[in-house]
């Protein structure tokens, strides 16, 4: 697929789009990407629990079944592993399936087909075949979703060679990365965040791709680098506004793709600021933050003026009670606290036990 690569790089993760520009929500951007991909390429189809029901996966597949027919947009049995394998088989036979899961928590049901099959098929067979499969899945936060409807499992997939993992945070990136994932010859785990679905921003009408593996600087700054993943990019922007009032200027990097990861963008920023904080939506232990920290420690240690800090969910399963959720999930407050700590601008209180 030859789609133009858009050069526009939004420097803000949120907020109203620039005046006069076309604005769409994250959910509309996803839906538009699916519709355009299906319109142009008859090999593309969408399957998954509820893609053709009235809820339409939080509205992201609304109207697609009516427009493209139920042979191309169809509900599936609740058989995550088998259905994933069936999508792999269809991909091997020349189709470009988009498999949709309402929750990322359901992916562990299909680990065998994702890890042992989709991720292996190209390498194991010497490059003679490939699996152009996009697996959309959704993470969330809050409202007592608790331990089985909230998990940010991206690190599990980043660990596996042969998979690509992307986590768009803006409507613009949601569309561009979804089109890129569908066009990609490899299996891509496409992780959406439910809190982003209503965010609106600039989304061009025409098709375009965001190259997988290319991050973006959301905000330029000099004092510390905050690598912020998915929804944490918003928290980082909020933190930046607050920190600015205290004369602290942070640089926010949204990697957008976790595998492959845009190392260079992060290294360059750290070389400039000398401080690194990674804010992830997932757990700290062996999480994406650990990998980024290790790469920076390995390749840019000499530039660091302070220890690397990771901001992540507490290393516990997700609780239900909103009081416990507040403790579990990191927010802009954690970013503000940590940045000040690294800059020695806050009283050196002991690190919160969970951070």
């Amino acid at each position: 697929m030859d789609l133009p690569v858009d050069k526009v790089e939004s420097t803000r993760a949120s907020g109203p789009a620039a005046e006069g520009k076309r604005t769409r929500t994250y959910r509309e951007a996803l839906r538009e990407a699916l519709a355009q991909a299906m319109e142009r390429d008859s090999r593309v189809f969408v399957a998954g629990q509820g893609v053709d029901d009235p809820g339409a996966v939080f509205g992201t597949t609304k109207g697609l079944a009516e427009r493209f027919g139920r042979q191309r947009v169809f509900d599936t049995p609740i058989a995550e592993n088998g259905i994933t394998g069936i999508m792999i088989g269809a991909a091997l036979a020349g189709m470009r399936p988009v498999l949709v899961h309402m929750r990322m928590d359901f992916l562990p049901m299909s680990m065998d087909q994702i890890v042992n099959h989709a991720a292996k098929w190209r390498f194991m067979f010497g490059g003679r075949v490939n699996v152009p499969l996009t697996i959309r899945c959704i993470i969330g936060r809050g409202w007592g979703a608790a331990a089985q409807h909230s998990q940010s499992l991206q690190a599990l997939f980043v660990h596996i060679p042969g998979l690509k993992v992307v986590m768009p945070s803006t409507p613009y990136d949601a569309k561009g990365l979804l089109l890129a994932s569908i066009a990609d010859e490899n299996p891509v785990i496409f992780v959406e965040h439910r809190w982003l679905f209503d965010q609106s921003g600039y989304v061009p009408e025409e098709e375009y791709v965001i190259p997988i593996g290319k991050g973006v600087i959301r905000r330029k700054g000099r004092d510390a680098t905050v690598v912020a993943i998915s929804h944490m990019a918003y928290e980082a922007c909020k933190a930046a506004e607050s920190l600015e009032k205290d004369g602290i200027d942070i640089e926010i990097i949204d990697p957008r793709s976790l595998s492959p990861l845009d190392d260079e963008l992060i290294f360059d920023s750290v070389k400039k600021t000398g401080r690194l904080i990674i804010a992830d939506t997932g757990w700290k232990n062996c999480g994406v933050g650990a990998e980024i920290a290790a790469r920076v420690a390995s390749d840019a240690l000499g530039y660091l003026k302070a220890p690397i800090r990771r901001i992540a969910t507490a290393d516990t399963p997700t609780p239900c009670s909103f009081e416990l959720e507040k403790e579990f999930y990191p927010s802009s407050e954690d970013i503000i606290f940590t940045v000040k700590e690294l800059l020695n601008k806050s009283p050196l209180s002991p690190q919160p036990y969970r951070r």
């Binding site: 042979q71 049995p77 088998g82 069936i86 088989g89 036979a93 099959h117 390498f123 010497g126 003679r128």
Partner: protein
């Protein structure tokens, strides 16, 4: 048909002969004893029909038209093998012959065949998918998920269960609450038969009906083919000495050798004289010798090739 059975048998026997030299460094799961199944099914398939297979997949690959030279080269880890030495005996693929790939995860290949059949329907072509798997796969969820979906969508799939009664060394009776595998498929509302998997004519005729049915849009069919593996779960030796299976059981099945039975049938019915059979055997020996020479003389991959083909 006889030629193909002989080719599979002799190919596997050659692996048995060469394996102890320890330069074929890939675990081999031999097909000896099962030959009638791959032969009887695949001779009904078109070149562009799909096959998904498993760890015991050499027979399916040969029957689907794959090149024994490239297969053996793959077993030896050579650059010229089907997968450039990255797959080995358990992982063979050949898109040109419709082989979707052999999965060494039990039950892993079934959904792939179903998915390819889904693609056939969506693309409006008449390609049929065959999933080959063992009785072990019946234990897996992917078996049930695949049968349900294929039947739900009336997909052109033929499920071929090679029931050799053992998953590694676990007997079927230790694993299945219902030892009648074909009966399970009936629960998914598809025609299902249990046949003598060592009788190539029966397998051929059953498969022909099933494949025709699939091709004409009438949906999936299930075939349980009862057979027996002569060798151990993995490796060139027999496991009877280790006490994995009763010797009498193996002896009984060896008496029912699919190749021998078909040979006797051809002689009894005067279809093929012994002289021509010997000529075919000589021809197969020659092909295999050529494959061995090709494989052994092929270069190994260079270390840098490790990093290729991940994406």
């Amino acid at each position: 048909m006889y030629l193909l059975m002989l080719r599979i048998r002799k190919f596997e026997e050659k692996v048995v002969e060469l394996y102890p030299a320890q330069d074929m460094r890939s675990p081999v799961h031999l097909y000896i004893g099962h030959e009638a199944i791959a032969t009887g099914v695949c001779l009904n398939l078109r070149k562009d029909d799909y096959v998904s297979s498993n760890h015991r997949g050499h027979g399916h690959c040969i029957a689907k038209g794959m090149d024994m030279r490239l297969m053996l080269a793959e077993f030896y880890g050579k650059k010229t093998g089907y997968c450039k030495g990255k797959g080995g005996s358990m992982h063979l693929v050949d898109p040109e012959n419709g082989v979707l790939g052999t999965s060494a995860i039990v039950g892993g290949g079934l959904p792939l065949a179903v998915g390819a059949a889904l693609a056939s329907v969506m693309q409006g072509n008449e390609r049929v998918s065959v999933a080959f798997f063992g009785d072990g796969a019946v234990d897996e969820g992917s078996f049930h998920e695949s049968l349900n979906f294929a039947s739900l969508k009336k997909l052109p799939v033929v499920f071929v269960c090679e029931n050799n009664f053992y998953a590694t060394n676990s007997h079927q009776s230790a694993r299945h609450s219902n030892n009648d595998i074909a009966c399970l498929a009936e629960g998914y509302m598809m025609p299902s038969v249990c046949v003598d998997g060592n009788d190539v004519i029966t397998v051929f005729e059953t498969a022909r009906n099933a494949i025709n049915r699939a091709r004409s849009g009438k949906g999936p069919t299930f075939m349980e083919c009862r057979t027996y593996r002569w060798k151990a779960h993995v490796g060139p030796d027999c496991d009877v000495e280790k006490g994995c299976r009763p010797r009498e059981e193996l002896d009984q099945w060896v008496k029912r050798c699919p190749v021998k039975r078909f040979r006797e049938l051809l002689l009894d019915e005067n279809v093929l004289p012994e002289s021509e059979m010997l000529e075919l055997a000589r021809q197969v020996d020659e092909e295999i010798e050529e494959a061995v020479i090709f494989a052994k003389n092929s270069p190994l991959p260079s270390p840098t090739e490790l990093y290729e083909d991940v994406y």
